[in-house]
Amino acid sequence: MAMGAIRHWLAMGGYAFYVWSAYGVMAAVLGGLAFFCWRRHRQSGAELARLTTPPAGRRE
């Protein structure tokens, strides 16, 4: 019964390919953008922290 309901839902009334592709494209594009922006943000923060804590260099 539950399996049948899930299969019915996944079939999307015959439009499964179009509906799930659309949601998949959205997830891939927005998720990918979010991931790469987040990673670059983290890297830029780490790089700045490395530069602002000097070993023994001169610092004005």
């Binding site: 439009y15 179009y18 509906v19 659309a22 949601y23 953008l33 790089e47 700045l48 530069l51």
Partner: protein, 258 residues
Amino acid sequence: MLTRLANPARFMRVSGFALPWLGGASAAVLAIGLVWALVFAPPDYQQGESVRIMFIHVPAAWLALWVYLFMAVASGTALVARHPLAEIAAQAAAPIGAAFTAVCLATGSLWGRPMWGAWWVWDARLTSVLVLFFLYLGYIALVNAFDDQSRGARAGSLLALVGVVNLPIIKFSVDWWNTLHQPASVMRWGGPTIAMSMLLPLLVMAVAFMLLFAWLLLLRMRTALNERKARALRLYARPAMPGTGRAPSLPDARPAWR
């Protein structure tokens, strides 16, 4: 409020506080919107279950336009007020707008195939949105095409401002020309003509995309500020040239023949 935030140091403080809240809120609202759109929203009496594509297609289209408007206003501010944060905001917004436009075009194509029988038609609405996508890409390419960052930013700002003409064309294309694309049913005079059971998940998805935009914008602006500061630090951290006692000259400023 905007002028108070326009100080980069204060911006970093405020955005650092807002970032996790915005990220969490966009994830939560997006989860609610997705479940609502995919499970609880009713199928359309004509389009059946394929109407569920609308819940991402339409908010993505709204964001594609609004992000461009944001980018154009920020570009105008950058040109007039010469404020670095305005320039950074415009450049941070461009890839986000391009992503929303790409989602709008791709989902529209996937919706058009079963409903219109074609992946793509060269009609006024679709073509003008494709032009919007190329405006985003052109802006990104132009900004990065100059060795001198400030010249690239200025050229990009001009392009962004000129491209604003495209926004009313997109909005009113469905009224001005005979197109296959259906006219507005939410943002129209006289109120929406869409059933509440579909309007509510649509608005939830729109709010989720707006929160996502705000989160990504702050994230990208902070990244740009971090990278600019790191570049400046690297230049000043170079040891003074021996014998001169002067500050080192910047490598970019040195003539190539030396």
